[in-house]
């Protein structure tokens, strides 16, 4: 009796799956033509980029990692960045989902594609080049050419501006602490590493061929950074606790009080236009305070006055 029950379950499941398969192909065809109107973004970087391109009204779902963005306060939450809820996404009937290559989203991406929902996967932890590619791709998909071109132009201009001013200066050694306990910094291949280079610094993690390597305190102390940047803020272990860490007192940045924990937590850690437009000048200001004064070149708004996000 019990065996026949499980057999029944198998038979029923097979029937149901064949049903579900029927509806799938129809969806796919109809979605490819017109620009998407119901977009779900699975990473704050995409959400910021979409807002900057004036596509805020088309966003119907974001993860809880976007909670810092005032612009999407009212938008539905579809779970954690680490693990978005498949059911919630499907329930919002999106015609486009922006996802990352992060492992926690891999299952969701696979499942969405099987259900015939269009998914665009971007690399989350790559260099600045990826940001430009992303803006161009969104331009193609959503048909916002003018705004995208303007945004790209602005970002390129900002990079050129900062690079010109920093190129003739000495290059202080910079340590960016991405995570504490265990210590994580940014190495080659991360966008922060590139930003430090443009802003006229020398990233002490650059020699490590991993975007976000775990490092030892010994490594940092032996590199003796002249500038320390703490991008996280208000988590109880800022500048003052760093000064008290054993053996860190002899580091140049600590001796000369060049530890900065005042850049907003989302300003230099999220790959979005804001990273170039605000994050880069902010970083340059910390690395070369003698040249980059607070009055220039930072102008708070990237495109059309929606981006007052510095300081988070």
């Amino acid at each position: 009796m019990f065996f026949s029950k499980s057999l029944k379950v198998i038979v029923i499941s097979l029937i149901l799956f064949s049903f579900a398969n029927c509806g799938k192909e129809k969806n796919e065809v109809s979605q490819l033509k017109k620009p998407p109107q119901r977009i779900i973004s699975l990473a704050p970087g995409f959400t910021e980029t979409l807002i900057d391109l004036g596509l805020k009204d088309r966003i119907v779902g974001v993860t809880t990692s976007c909670d810092y963005l005032k612009e999407v306060k009212e938008v539905e939450r579809i779970g954690l960045y680490m693990k978005p809820s498949l059911e919630k996404i499907v329930g919002l009937s999106p015609d486009l989902v922006f996802a990352t290559d992060y492992v926690g989203q891999r299952q969701t991406v696979k499942a969405l594609e099987k259900l015939g929902i269009r998914v665009e996967v971007f690399f989350e932890e790559k260099g600045i080049e990826e940001l430009f590619l992303r803006v161009k791709r969104i331009e193609e998909i959503c048909g916002v050419q003018r705004k995208a071109d303007l945004l790209i132009q602005k970002m390129q201009e900002r990079i050129r501006e900062v690079r010109t001013r920093s190129s003739s200066l000495s290059r202080p050694r910079v340590y960016v602490e991405v995570g504490y306990n265990p210590l994580f910094t940014c190495g080659k291949g991360s966008f922060i590493d590139e930003l430090i280079e443009i802003a006229g610094g020398e990233n002490i993690g650059h020699e490590i061929n991993k975007p976000y390597p775990r490092v030892s305190a010994e490594f940092i102390i032996s590199k003796n950074p002249e500038v320390i940047i703490l991008p996280y803020m208000g988590r109880g272990y800022g500048k003052e606790t760093l000064k008290k860490r054993k053996g860190w007192q002899r580091i140049s940045a600590v001796l000369n009080d060049r530890i900065y924990d005042d850049i907003g937590p989302q300003t230099i850690t999220i790959l979005a236009p804001n990273l170039i437009l605000n994050g880069l000048p902010e970083l340059a200001k910390r690395i070369h305070p003698e040249i980059f004064k607070s009055n220039s070149p930072t102008k708070p708004s990237p495109t059309g006055g929606e981006g007052k996000r510095e300081g988070g």
Binding site: M1, F2, F3, K5, S6, V9, I10, S13, L14, L16, F17, F19, A20, C22, G23, K26, T64, R77, I78, G79, L80, M82, K83, P84, S85, L86, E87, K88, V90, G91, S93, Y102, V103, G104, R106, Q107, T108, K110, A111, K114, L115, E125, F184, K210, P211, Y212, R214
Partner: protein, 329 residues
């Protein structure tokens, strides 16, 4: 005897009914609110749409997976506990899951993301072979040696996993952590069918050894006197339960506690005759994991808890409660 059979049928009937009710309950709750009336109408008259996609394509496969994985783990637990005559042994004790974990971890590190279950299964089989050959002396499988070597292989592989995690990239590290926490969200329907088939086969096959397991509970020598080929049975049971565990763990990760606790509950309900205990454990394991997974995906929805957290907490509390009650009686 007849009365016993009637009693067993009542148990099986009750458990099956409870399983179906749980399945329907699980189908009706989730991050997206769908009314009961809508669900009933969709079950009897399926039509394309978001609701039916969510019900039949997202919730239903997950329910099936929970039932069959929970069932397989519980059955494997019953076999191991019966064979070792040790209430603390579970499907994860003998290093099979450790081997699967090591396989998956290596798979993640090497970037074999699409063949992770295969990597897990290979790891599990290697672990089974290793334990088997190290524990058998001149064709004899000694139970204490088997247990010791199994536990050592388990420790060894978990240390190796930790070693790999210490050297891994952050993103790959997260992949390993997610896998270890276990999840029943699987979009590959072929894989789900495979799990259902393997777990069903395993349970059916194990049923033929119910008598042997009953005899084992008296002791190996007594089983021998009852005319059972003890050595052969031990080997078959060990390999059967290990393969069952390995295939399940390769797909869903290490969901703890089901295989350890459910056999105990079921023994408390239906008695320790394996002819009823095996099917009852399958149904009970299915119900338990299904309810835990339903909780995991609804408690803080749209966010989700790892199902292993729920099985551990819920299972642990209920288990301790039962044990302490038993003592008083």
């Amino acid at each position: 005897m007849n009365r016993k059979l009637k009693n067993w049928l009542i148990w099986l009937f009750t458990l099956t009914g409870f399983l179906l009710i749980s399945a329907f309950f699980s189908l009706s709750v989730g991050a997206d609110k769908i009314s009961l009336a809508k669900i009933v109408s969709l079950i009897f008259a399926p039509e394309a749409g978001i609701e039916s996609t969510i019900l039949f394509y997202i919730r239903f496969p997950r329910i099936l997976l929970a039932i069959f994985i929970g069932g397989a783990l519980a059955v494997s637990g019953v076999i191991f506990q019966g064979m070792f005559r040790n209430p603390l042994v579970g499907p994860y004790t003998l290093g099979v899951s450790g081997g699967a974990g090591l396989g998956v971890t290596l798979g993640i590190i090497l970037g074999l993301n699409f063949t992770l279950p295969l990597a897990g299964m290979s790891g599990a089989i290697l672990a089974i072979l290793l334990v088997y050959f190290l524990a058998s002396r001149k064709g004899f499988l000694r139970i204490p040696t088997l247990l010791l070597i199994g536990v050592m292989v388990s420790f060894l592989s978990s240390s190796l996993i930790t070693l790999i995690m210490a050297l891994a990239d952050v993103t790959k590290l997260h992949g390993i952590l997610f896998w270890i926490m276990g999840s029943l969200e699987e979009s590959n329907i072929g894989l789900i069918r495979l799990v259902i088939a393997l777990s069903t086969l395993g349970v059916i096959f194990s049923f033929f050894f119910a008598h042997h397991l009953n005899a084992f509970s008296l002791g190996e020598e007594e089983a021998l006197h009852l005319g059972i080929n003890v050595e052969r049975t031990k080997k078959i049971l060990f390999i059967l339960a290990s393969l069952l565990t390995g295939s399940v763990v390769s797909v869903s990760g290490m969901i703890g506690f089901v295989g350890l606790a459910v056999p105990h509950f079921m023994r408390g309900f239906v008695g320790s005759d394996h002819r009823i205990l095996l099917p009852a454990a399958f149904l009970g394991g299915g119900i338990f994991l299904l309810l835990c997974d339903t909780l995991a995906r609804t408690v803080i929805s749209p966010m989700e808890l790892p199902v292993g957290v729920i099985t551990g907490i819920l299972g642990g509390v209920v288990f301790i409660y039962f044990l302490s009650k038993k003592k008083k009686i």
